[in-house]
């Protein structure tokens, strides 16, 4: 297939892709789809795939065996969806390679495996199996970005197009001016998904207004926080969605230069996005004069590896330019002076993924989702001893209580909920009595908590507040780029005090010193890392003050985590 040169050619191509897609599901052969993502590979999904391939070939069962992305149901991986002729697709979980022989046997006998049934991908119950949407983990979600995750093959541009992909790009290119695209994004009230929640439309407008040329549009897929993994799952499951958002972003800024900066550790996400770019070039959705619209767009993929600070906007741009990724003072802001000193619009992966939806359905439609000031859906990940560990997509404004206990199923048996850490390493935790609070960009802030990029960590009574606070601050200390003094020297000072307390050598005035030093670090640091580094500690201290005091006055750690009795020389 060569490059498509006009809109009509795309329409024909899309119609064919759609026909093939529909035929796949109506065909007489079996369709078996295995979820292959970073997390399922860790649980042996690739072996499950190979084993299935072998046994299905042995059994002479005509099967289309597919690799799909991650549905976000990490807790049930490896996931296998089976569609036999005349039946709806049924999703099974925990299909490890040792289960495969029995699994295939059962299916071949015309029976249904009884173990690990998650649901049928249909609107109605079938053979006593409930629809997948009614699964407790999925029931409370609103899946827009994840709609096709785990259904389409992320390595097939045809699957994406067959399910409505690149329609938004066409609409933008042929029916809208760049200004209209920006207006639509403004109307949607979409706020940045990378942490700060800055209104995307306003950022794009500022980028347009700066007269310098060329301009750049950059996706931030760095995702280096220690408690979030949503962007890489999205890229693994539906890379074209992010790419389509990026191309629309370039059109809105009237620039042919797009970038995606992907954390080097996210190998599969990187590979799949790169492949998506190649496929888009081959089909003429990237390159010069896209579909004869006169608009050209070129996307480059760049990576770094193992430096959290490279997620910060200005640091990321230095990193792309082959410099050490260290932030600089602002202003000028990136929309005025970013990459190669030119106006640069930087947004999070998820922000870009939301754009095609907005363009296709209109900003006003998007604004009806979520709350008035926090519109739309948000990908969230929850870590810790919860029942349904995975990636969820919720409408903003859902209460934290529902998020923890309904969506993620609450803590597993044998654990007692103690708190939930919010905002990655940039904010404080909430206790159980504080969970009646909407998960959105603004409501959490007065409580010292934060939505951030949507990474939450539930912790139970076996976790010590002092130790956890130490962990979170030590992360920032380790990742401090060392450019400015308050952060470079302040964060180690906090860690040192916390270690003193953990080892049983805390001093009566330590808590005051913490407050004082934190204030200095927050106020004087150059970039976002230092400015929020003490927040988790201050939050823990406010909520679990008793525990800190116990450590200091009684040399006691009620969780039994801190090495209270160790000798001074063991202090790192």
């Amino acid at each position: 297939m060569g490059r498509l040169t006009d809109r009509a050619a795309f329409e024909t191509y899309a119609a064919n892709a759609q026909r093939r897609w529909e035929a796949l599901w109506e065909d007489r052969s079996w369709v078996i789809s295995v979820g292959i993502s970073g997390c399922s590979i860790a649980k042996g999904a690739e072996q499950t795939f190979q084993h299935l391939a072998l046994l299905l070939a042995d059994g002479h069962i005509p099967t289309v065996l597919r690799r799909v992305g991650c549905m976000g149901l990490c807790f049930a991986e490896p996931l296998v969806e089976v569609k036999r002729p005349g039946e709806p697709p049924v999703l099974y979980g925990w299909v490890t390679t040792d289960r495969v022989p029995e699994f295939v046997d059962t299916l071949r006998r015309g029976e249904l495996p009884t173990e690990g049934v998650l649901g049928v991908r249909a609107f109605e119950e079938w053979q006593g199996i409930a629809p997948l949407q009614q699964h407790p983990f999925l029931r409370h979600q609103r899946r827009l970005l994840l709609e096709h995750a785990g259904v389409i093959d992320p390595e097939s541009i045809d699957d994406y197009i067959a399910t409505g992909g690149y329609r938004a790009l066409l609409k933008a290119l042929f029916e809208m001016t760049p200004e209209e695209v920006v207006d639509e994004v403004k109307r949607s009230n979409l706020r940045g998904r990378g942490g700060a929640g800055f209104p995307t439309g306003i950022k794009w407008e500022s980028g347009r207004r700066t007269p310098a040329w060329p301009k750049y549009v950059v996706v931030n897929s760095h995702e280096g926080e220690p408690n979030v993994f949503k962007d890489r799952r999205l890229l693994e499951a539906n890379p074209h969605l992010v790419l389509e958002g990026l191309i629309i972003g370039c059109y809105a800024l009237e620039t042919p230069f797009g970038y995606n900066y992907i954390g080097g550790e996210h190998a599969l996400a990187l590979r799949r996005f790169q492949l998506a770019v190649e496929q888009a070039y081959a089909l003429g959705l990237l390159g010069d004069d896209i579909l004869g619209s006169g608009f050209s767009c070129h996307v480059r993929v760049r990576t770094g590896g193992g430096a959290y600070i490279c997620g910060e906007g200005s640091a990321l741009m230095y990193a792309i330019m082959g410099q050490r990724g260290q932030p600089r003072t602002k202003p000028p802001r990136s929309v005025e002076e970013g990459l190669w000193k030119r106006p640069t619009v930087l947004n999070n992966t998820e922000t870009f993924a939301s754009v095609p939806l907005i363009v296709r359905n209109g900003g006003s439609w998007y604004a009806t989702l979520g709350t008035k000031d926090s519109t739309g859906t948000k990908l969230v990940t929850m870590q810790g001893p919860v029942r349904f560990l995975g990636v969820a997509e919720i409408e903003l404004g859902m209460s934290m209580h529902r998020l923890v206990f309904d969506v993620f199923g609450g803590v597993r048996e044998g654990y007692r909920f103690k708190g939930v850490q919010t905002g990655g390493v940039s904010a404080g935790p909430l206790r159980e009595d504080e969970l009646d609070i909407p998960v959105d960009f603004d409501a959490l802030t007065p409580a010292g908590a934060m939505l951030g990029s949507g990474g939450f960590v539930v912790f139970d009574e076996s976790v010590c507040a002092v130790d956890f606070a130490r962990y979170l601050v030590a992360f920032s200390r380790y990742e401090s780029c060392g450019k400015c003094t308050p952060c470079r020297l302040g964060t180690p000072a906090l860690v040192e005090i916390l270690d003193r307390i953990r080892y049983g050598f805390g001093r009566p005035d330590d808590l005051e010193v913490i407050q004082y030093a934190s204030k200095q670090i927050i106020e004087l640091s150059l970039c976002g890392l230092g400015q929020v580094a003490p927040m988790p500690l201050l939050g823990m201290l406010e909520r679990f003050r008793d525990e800190f005091i116990e450590h200091i006055t009684e040399q006691r750690c009620r969780a039994g985590v801190c090495p209270m009795t160790a000798s001074v020389s063991a202090i790192p």
Binding site: A42, G305, G306, G384, D467
Partner: protein, 181 residues
């Protein structure tokens, strides 16, 4: 450079040269600078680390100084500028792994093995990096990744000690399959 003393003349640079010539062809100096990190990653994939001769080759190919290349190699935690051990282990120290007990293993490494953050065991059997981020497999927490593909699940200090012991005696990681645990 103990390796050189042992008569090692350096890695075969041909494969790297081929990759650079095929896929790292900057149109201008800006793009050349953008490609440094990617080129270093190619080298690390090939050799398990970025040997000085490879860094020099990259510098020459892209028209930048070796200093510039080293500035980046030492900035990013994922690059190795020393020859690694036979195995490479990423011990996850993300938040989920920490609350599940990874902190104890990190302290054990520090206390008993003298490894803070990263290091190679004296017998060069294993290079260990404490991964200051999330490996993305939190329900296996505390988790580790061995040799970039195999995952180890629900580690405890004891299991971790066994693992190191097995790797030092060059068994494969016994019972290390994340899927079964």
């Amino acid at each position: 450079m103990e390796l050189i003393e042992h008569g090692w003349t350096g890695p075969d640079l041909e494969p790297l040269r081929r990759i650079l010539e095929e896929r790292y062809r900057p149109r201008d100096y800006r793009e050349a600078q953008e490609l440094i990190v990617g080129a270093c990653q190619e080298a690390q994939r090939l050799y398990g680390w970025v040997p000085p001769s490879a860094a020099q080759l990259i510098a020459d190919h892209l028209g930048v100084t070796a200093n510039r290349v080293y500035g980046l190699l030492t900035f990013y935690a994922d690059f190795q500028t020393e020859p690694p051990g036979r195995h490479f282990l990423w011990l996850c120290h993300g938040a989920a792994c920490h609350v599940a007990g990874a902190g104890k293993i990190v302290e054990y490494l520090q206390r008993e093995r003298g490894i803070v953050g990263r290091g190679t065991l004296p017998d060069r059997s294993v290079t260990i990096h404490v991964f200051n981020g999330c490996l993305g497999v939190c329900d296996l927490a505390p988790a580790a990744q061995l040799d970039h593909h195999e995952y180890l699940a629900h580690l405890t200090q004891e299991r971790f000690e066994h693992l190191l012991h097995d790797l030092q005696n060059d068994g494969a990681a016994g019972g290390a399959d994340g899927a079964v645990d």
